[in-house]
Point group: C2
Chain length 280, copies 2
Amino acid sequence: MKFRRSERLIDMTNYLLEHPRELVPLTYFAEKYGSAKSSISEDLGIIKETFETRGIGILKTVPGAAGGVKFYVHVGQEEAAALIEELCNVFESPERLLPGGYLYLNDILGNPTIVRNVGRVIASAYAKADIDAVMTVATKGISIAYAVAGFLNVPVVIVRRDPKVTEGSTVSINYVSGSTKRIQTMVLSKRSLSEGARVLIVDDFMKAGGTINGMIDLLQEFNASVAGIAVLVESEETEERLVDDYLSLVRLSNVNVREKTISVSEGNFFSRIHFNNGSV
Amino acid sequence: MKFRRSERLIDMTNYLLEHPRELVPLTYFAEKYGSAKSSISEDLGIIKETFETRGIGILKTVPGAAGGVKFYVHVGQEEAAALIEELCNVFESPERLLPGGYLYLNDILGNPTIVRNVGRVIASAYAKADIDAVMTVATKGISIAYAVAGFLNVPVVIVRRDPKVTEGSTVSINYVSGSTKRIQTMVLSKRSLSEGARVLIVDDFMKAGGTINGMIDLLQEFNASVAGIAVLVESEETEERLVDDYLSLVRLSNVNVREKTISVSEGNFFSRIHFNNGSV
């Protein structure tokens, strides 16, 4: 079955979007469409240009016998700024403020479009990094973790507060919550991480950073390492921050639960990302 | 800025894939690309044909002044059968068996490709149904719920076992677990569902159906209704099933924890779906 160029372009676009960071040999497409490699090469040139012009992502050509193309998600500075501004506006609403200086985020974390865009922006920052898995802690960070993992094409590993039968054997650690100074526990299924894995930690909300610090400790138990830390929202704390090296999209400050006021500004994203190459 | 047809096809494909079940007016594309509506119409004809031939989905044209196109995810019988067979093979491994007849599923539920494909198959069954939200219970069903919701373009609502400060005010119900006959609690944030919402319940695993029954009860508290129930795995129970009307991709039977044996077969998917129109 022969394919016209227009059909190939549509089907290849869909395939590449669904297989980020995967090396696709030219022969794969050539055989799929019964086309010459030279035609496929031309098709990919058109897709590459359009992906870059339209801000969809980057298509990297790997030359040689074992070569092919790789699609990387990429979000430009303007698009990232627009998303972060949109998030700031949404977060500013005073009805979101909850006891203890937390924010109601369920509607945002449940919105597939927002979650997808947050995932794209975070994944874009780590698109070319060496990452084997995305880790988060149940429950609220899960949606963003999956969105990021989908764009990076790596599995998601979910840390829990309590062991469950469905986890199988688990490794557990105790950590001190940065805000409340209480001792807490987190567990991770033993089978969920392989030795030496490079892990991107993702969460929805960071105050002092105790939970994220706990995840870092947990990674050590698995002889795994931290490849990055990214949060949707960081809240300014009077106390010392336990984590230094992280990426945040939005920052809360001047949280006043009694007066129901809050200041929302962009996080450290733009000071951490070098936009000439779009990575951390 | 003028666009060539090839560029339009690539960019439109990306746009439609990212906006399922959304009515996109022809004028949107015509203005975006500075093209005549007749050219856009031809482009959409090519995309429609390719989407259908390559099993990407269905493009429905809505005629008239308020018209445009809508993209629906659609999985054909063959593709669904291949996925379900793959799942059966993965599930069969005896190391998955856990105490109580549960299965270790974390690796499957953490794999973005599998989760995406499971989400596509379930969403395809409900693509044309009137659904306002996808609901699941924390933690394990969340990944599939997000995948389904992404393809249906509706928000995800997450029921929890315990209230948390970040949920705001909650509504809680008690229910009887179908397997253990113990009284359990589930809570849902008050702001998370609007009155009259039509909700698709999604979960990873169903034994007797007590948890799903609990979610149905919870929906009543919100004056919301069940638009469908879909699970990845159902486990055959000797006891009476509490839920009748559901969709399952995989069925476990003859679970013998002592002997570490298990039978895995396809769920009720193919007996519930009419493949001439691909819907429940």
